[in-house]
Amino acid sequence: MKYFLRRILWLIFAIFVALTINFILPRLMPGDPATILIQRLEGLEPSAIEAVRTAFGLETDKNIVIQYWDYLVNLAHGDLGISISHYPTPVWDVLKKALPWTIGLMGLSTIFSFVIGTFIGIGIAWKRKSKISDAILGLFLFIRSFPYFWFGLILVYFLAFNNPFFPLGGAHSTRLMPADGWAYFKSVLYHGFLPGLTITISSMGYWILTIRNNMINVLAEDYITVAKAKGLSASRIRNLYAAKNAILPSISGFAMALGFVIGGSLLTEMVFSYPGVGFMLFQAVQQQDYPLLQAIFLFIILGVLFSNFIADIVIMLLDPRVRDGGSR
């Protein structure tokens, strides 16, 4: 249990650091966000400008520590401030719209690419001699080197534009609303298929290669020879002796990748004009909407930290050596 305590300690410390960076980062940005907003809203009297400044917690006259304290207090109450670019809606409402789409799209694709990738990786490591394994390996080495947004463009061009199997973009057909239940859900899947496919295929190569190399290292170990000598079935040796050892590093990698899900996939969202967090982040940067930017970054870092934490726990459950004596 000592190991568990240590991980929690590290998590809290990391969150604190993340919050601090998150607080400092926008303040380093050139230009003063309030003035930009005010230009856009021209015709506001000075008192209104002051109100806007306080609203964004950007009173430059107050010293930095107090600002930092206000920032933390607001955070505690879940108040992420008000978005500049979507003035006056609060940041949380803006974010609420994009988060489910990104988590849905990225989450599912990352899971699919991990599961299928690891499965293929184990297969081609186990049947290393066969030509198919080399072919698959070569194919994914090739795919992995391509920019995945270009891959998206190809899919849109051939599967959506030339012959209309799939919609050109968007998250669901404009005519349907969530209230329509099943029809709406079907259209969401239908629209989500191509972007999902892009992310899955392009990130699958990484998982295949990682697990394949681990498997080959594990297959050279003595306990595999012992398992063969004991006359165990091929599947039992491949799964319980080889894969169970080889998969450990991949799992921590998978948890890390899950953490990045919240960051969304800007490029795929652009190509498929999918309403995710990635595109929102890009707009926030362009319009210097610091509260929104701050909030998105906060969510990304929290997502990564939590997924790392979960990864450590999963590793602890799977690998008895880690459970006993500190991290391996």
């Binding site: 306990y223 020879t225 000598a229 006359g231 039992r236």
Partner: protein, 326 residues
């Protein structure tokens, strides 16, 4: 010591590499009676491990048995199908590996690794029965029962090797091959394990092929001793007789490389030079370059494996009536 359970007949095995075939085991023959312990001694690179792996038919993907027969209680192992070998192995002959460190699956409990050996060969055995058998095995090798569900990293080197021996005996095979089982262990733990193996051998009357480079250990525990060099057996015979009057110059050199613990001390010479490269083995006797009793015939023809005394064979021109002496 009634019947013979294993006969190796002119076995030749090795590895195919880009630079040609490496004959790690070259025309090796010997037999083994029930309950007998044969010690196979040899330095690194002499092919003793390849011999073990060939008998167990566990050669790596580029390993190959080129010719010769391995008859186990009559059945020739070399031409068995993979499926037959899979059922045959571990039930009739099992193996204990050198590096006890990673011969056990680190992420599986000891009990699971013992039981799946049982389950692989006795399909209908119940979990309860299998677990009981596993417990008995651990008791046999002096490991407390509460360690049954421990993980390998929670055991010491000595205990891990004992678990391996328990695993090798679980289907009570007739033959156990031990490839340098105690090399990685300390001398006290090594002695405990050797005593345990001796005890179990007499109790269950299985035979053992004990492979190591530690000749002094072999002389004590083996009934029969085979000296391997560059893939060939140079001398084979009763252990005590070979220790007292080694015939082959290489055996003599080896016996003269062990400083005694008791008795007077005199300067020892060891054997200069290094073993030949197995990729292009010398034409004559492989020990020729390092042999201090060599004759020119030794360089030309390979001496044949001749029986000098009752089951004491040697491969050396000094004894096979080489033309210019005896």
């Amino acid at each position: 010591m009634s019947d013979t359970i294993l006969e190796i007949d002119h076995l030749t095995a090795g590895y195919e590499t880009k630079m040609g075939d490496v004959l790690a085991v070259n025309d090796v023959s010997f037999d083994l009676k029930k309950g007998e312990l044969i010690g196979i001694a040899g330095e690194s690179g002499c092919g003793k491990s390849t011999l073990a792996y060939s008998i167990m038919n566990l050669l790596e993907d580029n390993g190959k048995i080129y010719s010769g027969e391995i008859r186990f209680s009559g059945k020739n192992m070399v031409d068995l199908s993979d499926k037959q070998i899979k059922n045959f192995r571990w039930k009739n002959m099992s193996m204990v590996f050198q590096s006890a460190m990673n011969a056990l699956n680190p992420v599986m409990k000891i009990s699971e690794q013992l039981i799946d050996a049982l389950k692989a060969h006795e399909k209908k055995i119940s979990d309860k029965e299998a677990r009981k058998r596993a417990k008995e095995m651990l008791k046999l090798v002096d490991i407390q029962i509460d360690r049954l569900d421990a993980y390998p990293h929670q055991l010491s080197g000595g205990m891990k090797q004992r678990v391996m021996i328990a695993m090798a005996m679980i289907l009570n095979p007739d033959l156990m091959i031990m490839d340098e089982p105690t090399t990685a262990l300390d001398v006290v733990v090594q002695r405990n394990i050797i005593e345990k193996v001796e005890e179990l051998r007499h109790e269950f009357n299985f035979s053992i092929i004990f492979i190591t480079h530690d000749l002094s250990l072999l002389v004590e525990i083996s009934d029969k001793l085979a000296i391997m060099y560059a893939g060939k057996i140079l001398e084979i015979g009763p252990a005590d007789r070979i220790y007292l009057n080694p015939l082959q110059p290489y055996t003599e050199g080896l016996m003269n490389s062990f400083p005694p613990l008791t008795g007077e001390l005199e300067e020892m010479s060891g054997i200069a030079g290094k073993p030949p490269d197995l990729l292009n083995p010398p034409q004559g006797c492989p020990f020729y370059p390092r042999c201090d009793k060599r004759m020119d015939i030794c360089q030309k023809t390979m001496p044949e494996f001749k029986e000098i005394e009752e089951n004491h064979k040697v491969r050396c021109h000094l004894y096979t009536g080489g033309n210019n002496n005896e």
